[in-house]
Amino acid sequence: LFGSAHAADMTVGFSQIGSESGWRAAETTLTKQQAEKRGIDLKFADAQQKQENQIKAVRSFIAQGVDAILIAPVVATGWDEVLTEAKDAKIPVILLDRTVDAPKDLYMTAVTSDLVHEGNVAGKWLVDTVAGKPCNVVELQGTTGSSPAIDRKKGFEQALKGHDNLKIVRSQTGDFTRTKGKEVMESFLKAEGGGKNICALYAHNDDMAVGAIQAIKEAGLKPGKDILVVSIDAVPDIFQAMAAGEANATVELTPNMAGPAFDALAAYKKDGTMPPKWIQTESKLYTQKDDPKAVYEQKKGLGY
Amino acid sequence: MPASAVLSATGIVKTFPGARALDGVDFELRRGEVHALLGENGAGKSTLIKCLTGAYRRDGGRVELDGAPIDPRDPLDAQKLGIGTVYQEVNLLPNLSVAENLYLGRQPRRFGFVAPREMNRRARALLSAYEMDIDVTAALSSYSVAVQQVIAIARAVDLSGKVLILDEPTASLDAQEVRMLFRIVRDLQARGLGIVFITHFFEQVYAISNRITVLRNGRLVGTRETESLPRKDLVTMMLGHELHAAEQAGETKAESSGPVRYAFHGLGKAGRVKPFDLEIRQGEVVGMAGLLGSGRTETAELLFGVETADSGTAECEGRRLSLSSPRAAIAQGFGFCPEDRKVDGIIGDLSVRENIALALQARRGWMRPLSRKEQDALADRYIKALDIRTTDREKPIRLLSGGNQQKAILARWLATNPDFLILDEPTRGIDVGAHAEIIRLIESLCAQGMSLLVISSELDELVAYSSRVIVLRDREHVAELVGGDVSTENIVEAIAGQERRRAS
């Protein structure tokens, strides 16, 4: 019925978590672009943020007999059974974006960044920037219980360890959203003497940071100067804020996880080369020095 | 003689916020007697039996069963003690099957599981004693109010080991069913049960009861032997004064001389009512008689646009009318007081005032609200005119006694000042005083030029005010009695037809 224009020599199933953020949308867009570029017939399944839907999708992929499966797992645990089924059906599985708590022989490789490391990079930047001055940090966490929230918090705390001048005074969840980021920041500002006691904000993603920046401005303070802002993801909007001097740093999480995955897959199909178990993407730190305006222009068309 | 008392209550007190419904009422029921409990609407009859059966917790007083004090906490308790009750409105579950309604909570079981076949068999056997041969597995809601009433009675009778309480069981029954009910009651009486019987029909009181207890405004007026209490005295006991001019049967009958105002030709709906012709003159009362399920309510619903007719025409003084919905009918000056007041009539949570003002407001549209003052005046006028017993007009209508709810709905339609009013069983559950009141009202209404179509199972009443009576049988208009022909005997004859066949 829908014969692809390209002679699709390979059918790949992709189980995506959902479309809960701009970053996620960009990842989906890029994955589709990459597949199209390589003439791969991509079967896309959106799980609406539910693991059970992802498992269902993977099972249907197996039932359809696809050539390979990409999974962006919503959570680390609970994959053993369905991965075993895929293995039994001799379908290679590649994990995107996060790893899982399963025996390593159940998947071919994982293309991910290191979430703890991201938090660490952000923390290090802050430690270096304040350079020993006392600093009260407020933290906007991701969705309670989600692995980025847990790991980015862990990494950041690790980086701060041993630097007693930095103290996390408040930490609340902003659910990874702008609205909540703004609302929670407002309450932080009220709770910490109108913001006078806050020297830096660490947000688990850029969206919350963007919301928080607005809250800071509305409170009559200058984000980026009165309160340092560091966050993770490197979505276009944060570069705009950085260009305006309202944000200080962000750690990139590349949405192009599918590219390396497809490359690995192609190599494997060609001559059976097994890729390494973990293909780590770079967690690049962007600061004001990296010409945020240009980065913004370059990122803006990627479907963020 | 306390020895033969099966159920006795002393000093029962029940207070609702703002009203004392029962004030130290004594009541004694003997073994093997039928005890009529009488009183005006709102006198506290239903409240008394609800206190006896644990549906309400009483605030004071003592209840004894076979000499031992009891305090049922809920109807289930009372059932276990051998007290079976039919509450005033049909209180069965419409979504359950007939058999399930009959055996709720005491279904026959096999190996711990309900045995539906056995239950259905028993249900059929039980109902056959009431000459009812219906599908007991069908949902209760698929039967008419009357059938439901019989089922409720059958259930209560089956439950009552010692006492049977019937709160207006005959309100929606016709003469034949009433006779059948009485046969069963006498049977139970012979077996030594005590039976409490609440009704507003005096004939029935005198036909079956041994003793009478009268309540008025929540107080006991007295208990008498039925034989030694003439009707007139009974009325006086109930009302607290004599009833004047109420018995005067319709000599004032409107001469059906006014011009024909409404003409319906071939109106009908497949599966509901066979096509019929009907003409209504200005200022006349047309009665409608028939057995249960003969299609009277359906006819009324067709006329009022509740059901849309699939054949026929309606005209008003030569003008074609569209009766596509109640709203359309109301716009033509129609009004309809439905038979099932609980489901079709009252808006339970709203106040008496709002219930009375509702139809008028609906006709005016939402943009032109009746001011609060107008509503108050309207409500007060009808509360007074129809003698609606309520502590104040802001009381939610569901807290009113059954008869008073009926009057409030009548008031709702009178307030719209309709040209053509359809009343389906308007006097159901209404006490003697109010009954007389309403009949007088009907007469005065048509004297003012309003036309009425009255459906009633009380043939005497129909005869009293109707200038014409339409008789229905098996969903068909079979006869029309006019003028001098309007008499109870003629109606009965027409209903029976040649083959004296009952609704299947």
């Binding site: 019925l1 199933g13 995506q16 479309s19 989906t28 079967k43 896309f44 399944a45 959106d46 609406q48 943020q49 539910k50 693991q51 059970e52 839907n53 498992i55 269902k56 999708a57 099972r59 249907s60 992929f61 197996i62 039932a63 359809q64 007999g65 959570v75 680390a76 645990t77 609970g78 994959w79 059974e81 708590d101 969705t143 309670t144 219980g145 847990i150 | 809920d74 109807p75 289930l76 009750t85 209180n91 579950l93 419409p94 979504n95 359950l96 399930e100 309604n101 709720l104 909570g105 279904q107 079981r109 711990g112 599981f113 309900v114 597995t137 069908a138 698929s142 497949a270 599966g271 299947s504």
Partner: protein, 326 residues
Amino acid sequence: MNAKTLPLIATLVIFIAAFAICTLQYPTMLSTRVIGNLLTDNAFLGIAAVGMTFVILSGGIDLSIGSVIAFTSVFLAVMLEGTSIHPLLAFVLALAITTAFGALMGAIIHFLEMPPFIVTLAGMFLARGMAFVLSIDSIPIRHPFYATLKSAYWVMPGGGRLTLIGGAMLLVFLAGIIIAQRTRFGTNVYALGGGAHTAALMGVPVGRTTIGIYALSGFVAGLSGIAYSLYTSAGYSLATVGVELDAIAAVVIGGTLLTGGAGFVGGTLIGVLIQGLIQTYITFDGTLSSWWTKILIGGLLFAFILLQKGILSLSSGRRRLTMKGA
């Protein structure tokens, strides 16, 4: 034929027709593998939906089940990874907690006369909150007993698997049908749905029944939590968000009236399968974007409801005609 079973039959007809259409488009869909997946993947939803059916039949609603499932899975994971008790004992403990939790909600609904919607909404917050407090991390369960349970499946001809949890769901449905149709408790549930006041006047023990219903729902949600933990071998406090809405939709698609008093447990099974079918169809198609997936799910939900209404009104029209003939 009984008027009451009509919605049930309508739903079944729609399901079979839908499956046939799917198969025409994707022939591989008619395989025991897909059918086995349909049972396994929807097991936890199906089990929970049985409890939801009872609640809805009684005229109530239970919004807490998704959270209770998540709580159960976290509880099991914490117990099995943190202590050395046997899974079976942990199961019993978990079921005891969730049943008591349901009973408590039922008691509040009955004794304090608060609307079920709100009480169970608070229950939903509370259960998830407790899961968070137990652990915000997702915890894998590595107990060997789990592996044993998961390897207990029956390979159907054609390679599909009927897993333990899939089978368990069918058993729970069977039990639910028997309880609803063949016990006094079941009839009392329908009675409450027909009108609590009337039911009370007819001698139905309203309090006991209400508490029983929510306790049952809690128990079944606990079972569903166990199934979920078997399904994923893990406990995760963010799992099964919004499952209550899926369950409600399954119950309603299955022909049960949300106002209570009418419907069948068996219908819910078909409702669950229809939802599973929609999901499977979407993955087989595999061209839909995230948003079109949502729109299509909503659209198909709507189509099913409409179809059901259509079939019902058509056949009720016919019934009226036959009544006239009689």
